[in-house]
């Protein structure tokens, strides 16, 4: 995603690989240890839900806006969910203003997949008038500071914003959906958790920071649900992974994801 200073990087990578051989990371973390995760919800009162997430120095702000919309023809009784991400130009020296980059589109789509496939939100509860009117949930993510692992930080922000979002209850009158003043939660059923793992040399590390991303060969994101099922995954970067490491990454994602889910639940309950 970013331009790199090749000389510094190659020295850094050398040192990083040496350390990893003895089970250590440059910033002192264990291989399967994510950075400090901080979640603050309700930070944007004008949004239906919002969350400010820091994962190390990576900072993401997600906001949920809810409106009525017209359902897709193939799902006339289901609500609409849209996840969008902008990697703000302020987020790093390498980000640029302009239409969403390939990276931002992938980020939004992978995040969306984790939410959608886990059936986090019960979309059938967002139908209002079949074929005519449903509730549309827009989740927009502002990537404000980049220090690696946008996938997980963005996913935690979206999940936290949705878990705490409130929407007007709608009633149908004369074939029209009318908002009442009553505020109800978005029908959240599950808590998908994304865990991203990088391979540096031949080691897998959880939650890579920018420095580690500059040295990594491969990245894999695996999202698991409350029952430890795998509900989304995306291998990234221009390199490969062995089948064994895929399975190892899956196990790591399940175990690390469990701990992170507990944090998210705590921050959003």
């Amino acid at each position: 995603m970013m331009k790199k200073n090749h000389v510094v990087e190659s020295i850094t990578k050398e040192r990083m690989v040496q350390l990893l051989a003895s089970g250590k990371r440059l910033d002192g973390r264990a291989l399967d240890q994510p950075r400090n995760l901080n979640i603050e919800t309700g930070v944007i009162p004008k949004a239906n839900g919002s969350a400010r997430v820091t994962l190390g120095n990576t900072l993401v702000l997600a906001g949920v806006k809810i409106a009525t919309g017209i359902p897709f023809p193939d799902t006339p009784d289901k609500g609409i969910l849209m996840v969008n991400a902008e990697i703000l130009p302020m987020s790093s020296p390498y980000a640029e203003a302009g239409p969403p980059s390939e990276d931002a589109i992938e980020l939004a789509r992978v995040t969306d997949r984790g939410i959608r496939e886990s059936e986090m939100v019960d979309m059938t509860k967002l139908g209002l008038i079949p074929g005519k009117s449903v509730i549309a949930v827009f989740v927009d993510c502002n990537i404000m500071n980049v220090d690696g692992n946008l996938f997980d930080a963005t996913s935690y922000a979206v999940v936290s914003a949705l878990r705490t979002a409130k929407m007007n209850r709608y009633v149908v009158k004369d074939d029209k959906a009318v908002a009442t003043d009553e505020l109800i939660p978005v029908p959240v059923e599950r808590t998908p958790v994304s865990v991203t793992i990088a391979r540096i040399g031949d080691k897998l590390v959880v939650d890579p920071n920018s420095e580690e991303e500059a040295s990594m060969d491969m990245r894999i994101t695996i999202t698991t649900d409350d029952d430890g099922n795998i509900c989304a995954s995306q291998k990234g970067e221009a390199s490969t992974i062995s089948a064994e490491q895929v399975l190892q990454a899956a196990d790591t994602s399940i175990s690390v994801g469990k701990a992170i889910r507990a944090k998210i639940l705590e921050a959003t309950s």
Binding site: K46, G63, L88
Partner: protein, 250 residues
């Protein structure tokens, strides 16, 4: 405008309890972002705005290089969730115009001659929008420029005044902006006594125009004191503490 009565009562008290010449609460934090060369965060009424600065840096594309000074770039952008109805993330015509006037308001404060052939980028992101977001953005952006160590002639500070009916008031919030009778965003360089942004909406008698304009300058000077405190906190009082100044009712 039908709702004018409601915006200010017979005792001159506004919907949120302010007098005609009071400011909303303002909170300033400098140096809050990790990657940016400089940054500042402002909460002003319900506005929540982040400003960040990168530079001086190389200019791309090269044909935009200015041989004798820095190129100042500025983007004012509203997050899709910052307003009542979700905003399309692509820049609107309004955002393009405001980006231009913010850039023009800041550039004469920056000593661009000190950084020939470079770019200085100012990113203003409105996370939650209330009335007066452009002047709040300018106020934060000039702190972010100072935080980035960019040479400046003066800080730039903005305040918007306007009309409710024929009453001049300071610092309109969103409701007052939409249902009131005029809005006048002003930005000043307080030590140099110069105005670097002036826009006017509404219908002002010559007298009210002057009254609102001069009130905006007076209020701007007051906010300038908060800017100074925020910078002091940043450079001498520890890291990124917030400067919250609630004005005593006059």
């Amino acid at each position: 405008m039908a709702g004018t009565k409601k915006l200010i009562d017979e005792n001159g008290i506004r919907l949120d309890g302010r007098k005609w010449n009071e400011l909303r609460p303002i909170k300033l934090q400098v140096g809050v972002m990790k990657n940016a060369d400089g940054s500042a965060y402002i909460e002003w009424g319900k506005n929540k705005i982040m400003a960040a600065v990168y530079g001086p840096k190389e200019v791309h594309p090269k044909h935009q290089v200015l041989p004798d000074r820095a190129l100042l770039r500025c983007r004012y952008h509203m997050a899709p969730f910052s307003v009542d109805e979700r905003k399309n993330p692509a820049p609107s015509r309004r955002e393009i115009e405001i980006s231009k006037v913010i850039r023009e308001a800041l550039v004469s404060a920056v000593i661009v001659e000190d950084y020939p052939r470079t770019a200085i980028e100012v990113w203003v992101e409105v996370l939650q929008s209330d009335g007066g977001s452009r002047v709040a953005g300018i106020t934060a952006a000039s702190l972010a420029l100072a935080d980035a160590g960019i040479n400046m002639r003066d800080l730039v500070v903005g305040c918007s005044c306007g009309l409710i009916g024929e009453q001049v008031v300071s610092d309109l919030d969103d409701t007052e902006d939409k249902e009131g009778n005029g809005d006048m965003p002003v930005a000043i360089m307080p030590n140099l006594g110069l105005v670097s942004l002036l826009q006017v909406d509404g219908v002002y008698t010559r007298e009210n125009f002057q009254k609102a304009f001069e009130l905006a300058i007076e209020k701007g000077k007051q906010i300038y004191q908060m800017q100074r405190e925020a910078l002091t906190t940043r450079f001498f009082g520890g890291e990124a503490q917030s400067t919250e100044v609630e004005e005593a009712a006059e």
